[in-house]
């Protein structure tokens, strides 16, 4: 009699993970919210009544109304429209910074782990230094030097955030290096690159996905912080951080101007975090049944 006769179902890692994820209500809520915000951000510009830069100086600092769902700001611009455009900025930052993170972090981590020895040591010391540093400071520093458009913001944030992914990948590679199937692959003549691509990277995918999902809210926050202190995206492109800064000046007269973007940041970051938590639990091999 063998174990599989007992009638318990077996799933692949991904299938099992998906089932567990589906059960996690918080994660699903987070995912749905992200989806809704994304759809709104993409679709709304085609339908909006107002341009985000249009100033109606007859209607400044108005509260929420039928005309303006979330009111108007100090220059008469529709807050809801600006909020949605701000979402575009935040989401763009969230996604594109991670591309840079993966582009740098994956190869660096994989090479460092696979090669070992002095290269590994050197790279990891550098990573440690960057990692020990409060990331927001470095981002601000880079941004103030680089200047430029939103693409430079992606770069500034990406250049600082890749370190935790590289650490992660390196750890995975080191652990997997020991495993027998890698030795077997080598015995069969696989070269370093082949082993990396075919065996090591797919196995690290899980934790990397989780790490990236947690990175996104940090990137969103970083962009908001940059805009808040004035070195973010250039106006009039809306950014939640800039809206908060501007709204602070009229906080007593029109608190909604600062309230909506603040809540928006909170909700978006929270959603990604719930999703990340859910993914991490779902992909945790120890919880497999």
């Amino acid at each position: 009699m063998s174990v599989t006769d007992s009638g318990r179902r077996h799933h692949s890692l991904w299938g099992d993970a998906f089932i567990r994820l589906r059960r996690n209500r918080l994660a699903i809520t987070g995912g749905v919210i992200i989806l809704l915000i994304t759809i709104l951000a993409v679709v709304y510009p085609f339908f909006s009544r107002y341009d985000f830069a249009y100033q109606d100086l007859n209607a400044i600092l108005q509260g929420p109304s039928a005309e303006h769902l979330m009111g108007t700001d100090e220059l008469g611009r529709d807050v809801f429209t600006r909020l949605v455009y701000g979402a575009r900025t935040s989401l763009a930052v969230g996604i594109f910074t991670q591309l840079i993170v993966l582009l740098i972090g994956l190869p660096v981590g994989a090479v460092s782990g696979a090669k070992g020895g002095r290269t590994d040591n050197l790279i990891m010391r550098f990573v440690d230094v960057v990692y020990a540093f409060p990331d927001l400071l470095l981002i601000i520093l880079l941004r103030s030097i680089l200047g430029g458009s939103i693409y430079m913001i992606f770069l500034a944030i990406g250049l600082v955030s890749w370190v935790n992914v590289s650490r992660l990948v390196r750890g995975q590679v080191l652990a997997l290096k020991q495993r027998d199937f890698v030795t077997a692959a080598r015995l069969f003549g696989g070269t370093g690159f082949y082993i990396n691509a075919r065996h090591l990277l797919p196995n690290s995918l899980g934790p990397v996905i989780v790490a990236v999902t947690f990175n996104i809210p940090r990137a969103i926050f970083a962009e908001a912080a940059l805009s808040y202190i004035g070195i973010g995206v250039k106006p009039p492109t809306p950014s939640w951080g800039a809206m908060i800064r501007d709204g602070f000046n009229v906080i007593f007269a029109a608190p909604h101007l600062i309230l909506f973007p603040a809540i928006a940041i909170g909700i978006l970051m929270l959603s990604f975090t719930f999703l990340g938590d859910g993914l991490r639990d779902a992909l945790d091999p120890r919880l497999r049944r």
Partner: protein, 334 residues
């Protein structure tokens, strides 16, 4: 030794309620120990011997585990009916346990001495320097060299064998009436194994402590236990004096266990004998005898009805249809 058992486990059922189903770890087990006596609880991993021992001290994690029914009578008291406070008074002071893996069973951030002193403070009202001195005495008793230095050290600084000795010192520190030793020698190598068993045996004899020795190694049991209980898949399948079990094993499983132990006094065979197959899934245990699917000698009734444990010869009990049929008359029908 009088005839009243010090510890009497009667019809113990301990189940674990998991996502995949109910694991029937202990499914109707009864055994007893008299004062000063040593019994051995023998079986392979997963047969429920550890769970039954933990049940005695009510150390089963609830959830997911639960002692579903049965009685555990210790010195006249049913341990399962005691309150938490009351069972706590008994733990350590009257019944002590030695665990299998001393590295994890000892707190890594506290010195060995302070851990023993903690128990002394709790049950023997010894504090400060008095407790430390007693700890040193106990370490000497279990054969740890330089005990006054060792008492201030941390578990990770001890070798495996020494750690187990320290655990033994902890167990005897409050002079319990009964010690349960759960695979006390599995993690050490063979030479240390013998030393540790001699030590445990010597101490229990000296202090007149009853001992329940839990092991999967039938080979070591002969020297150290008066009586042996053989467990399989949550049931007791055979029990009797160790002399009788060795001389005349009746249950096919017991015979399989004994046959698989390599013996020096026999000619070298071509290969070691093992028992074919795997232990059953405890969530869906087989309907009849738990061992039947693996048993070379099984017949129809074995697969359908679980056998009752019956006394085949004085003091020798077996739960097997074939043995019942060959031996004395058994209870007819069910």
């Amino acid at each position: 030794m009088n005839n009243h058992p010090l510890l009497d486990v009667r019809n113990l059922y301990t189940y674990f309620y998991t996502h995949d189903g109910i694991v029937k770890a202990v499914d109707g087990v009864s055994y007893n120990v008299k004062a000063g006596e040593t019994i051995a609880l023998v079986g392979e991993s997963g047969c429920g011997k550890t769970v039954s021992a933990l049940s005695v001290l009510r150390l089963i994690q609830d959830p997911p585990g639960k002692i579903v029914s049965g009685e555990i009578i210790f010195d006249g008291i049913n341990l399962l009916s005691l309150s938490r406070g009351q069972i706590n008074e008994i733990r350590g002071a009257r019944i002590a346990m030695i665990f299998q893996e001393p590295l994890t069973a000892l707190n890594p951030v506290l010195t060995v001495g302070s851990q023993i002193a903690g128990a002394l403070e709790r049950h023997r009202n010894m504090k400060g320097q008095v407790a430390i001195e007693e700890a040193v005495r106990l370490l000497t008793l279990v054969g740890i060299p330089q005990p006054d230095r060792r008492v201030k050290e941390y578990p990770h600084q001890f070798s495996g064998g020494m750690r187990q000795r320290a655990m033994i010192a902890l167990a005897i520190s409050c002079q319990p009436q009964l010690i349960i030793a759960d695979e006390p020698t599995t993690v050490v190598d063979v030479t240390i194994q013998a030393q540790l068993l001699e030590l445990i045996k010597g101490l229990t004899r000296e202090l007149n402590t009853a001992l329940v020795l839990i092991t999967h190694n039938l080979g070591i049991v002969a020297r150290y236990a008066h009586r042996v209980y053989v467990m399989y898949a949550g049931h007791i399948v055979e029990h009797g004096t160790s002399a009788e079990i060795y001389r005349n094993p009746l249950h096919p499983y017991t015979r399989g266990l004994l046959a698989s132990v390599p013996r020096l006094d026999e000619p070298r065979k071509a290969r070691l004998q093992s028992i074919e197959g795997q232990p059953p899934d405890l969530i869906n245990p087989p309907k009849g005898c738990a061992f039947a699917p693996r048993c070379q000698l099984h017949v129809d009734v074995c697969l359908k009805e679980p056998p009752e444990i019956t006394e085949i010869s004085p003091g020798h009990f077996v739960a097997c249809w074939l043995v019942n049929a060959q031996g004395k008359t058994t209870n007819e029908g069910k």
